[in-house]
Subunit: 148 residues, 2 copies
DNA sequence: ATGACTGCAAAGCCTTTGCACGCAA
DNA sequence: TTGCGTGCAAAGGCTTTGCAGTCAT
């Protein structure tokens, strides 16, 4: 679940950050690059593992601070794949996104996209009194290996 | 979001607990009663607020332990309404359930049910390699008051 | 009498905050 | 030069665990 497929998200992110008035700091850039390498959700602590031993090392606090800023700029989105802990995923500028199935036993994840699901959620959102801006859908169960 | 509507869930829960070999402890019973009073998701800390000043008081650890047991017996279900913290909801024996919209600003919740949504999720679940046993759907946005 | 149940306090995660130093602009 | 950005360490929440006393059976 790594092996980059950066569709230009990094550039988009760096440009958005600059436009928002942020300076180009080493830690923040390192977090952008790390996120670009992940196709699926990542936790702050996973990023910390990756970036801690860099030279120069990136501090854990900087990772949390960067993620908070990125989320506010809608560059990443928090997903509820990891119960009780944060996990984030890139937001693609074209709005394309997927959802997740998570294994109760080992945490393995599988992703899916579905138009009927999105259509239903869109319709429901319009009918609520709330102004809905995002949605989480997570399926939970056992992966094939853990089911045996 | 309180004001009881216990459809027999308490009795069901107590019977299930007894059948599973649990003794009838005061703390556990108090947690069952507290859950029966809530129609929507509750956090362990909300329950603690309610049960701490009882006589005799219920300890926080007992609440967490009870919730863990109830979840394993499928009497309650963890829902992801409160980011970064746990929240639980009764599982109705007939399988009837609803989902939630949560306000980013104030945490207020609105619930909904939708057959097309459930149908889509059921179909998707069958198509996965995972054995899916539950699903979370949470819409997020601003409630009417916070949107102004 | 036996072992489950409970409350308290301590310990464990994850996350946030305070602070002094360093670096971008 | 200014003040944003960063790392470290400390502090904050929520949750879990250890332990000794209590209670259900």
């Amino acid at each position: 679940m790594a092996t980059a497929v950066d569709t230009g998200w990094s550039e988009h992110a760096l440009a958005t950050l600059r436009a928002a008035g942020y300076r180009r700091g080493g830690a923040r850039t390192a977090v952008v690059e790390a996120l670009a390498r992940h196709d699926c959700s990542v936790t702050p602590l996973q990023l910390d593992d990756e970036l801690r031993r860099r030279d120069p090392p990136v501090g854990r606090a900087s990772i949390y601070r960067a993620l908070e800023q990125f989320e506010q700029l809608n560059l990443i989105r928090r997903v509820e794949t990891t119960r009780g802990a944060a996990a984030y995923e890139r937001v693609e500028p074209d709005g394309h996104h997927h959802h997740h199935a998570v294994c109760h036993a080992c945490g393995e994840m599988e992703t899916f996209e579905d138009r009927e699901l999105e259509r239903a959620i869109g319709r429901i959102s319009k009918g609520m009194t709330f102004e809905i801006s995002e949605h989480d859908v997570v399926l939970r169960g056992l992966c094939r290996r853990c089911a045996d």
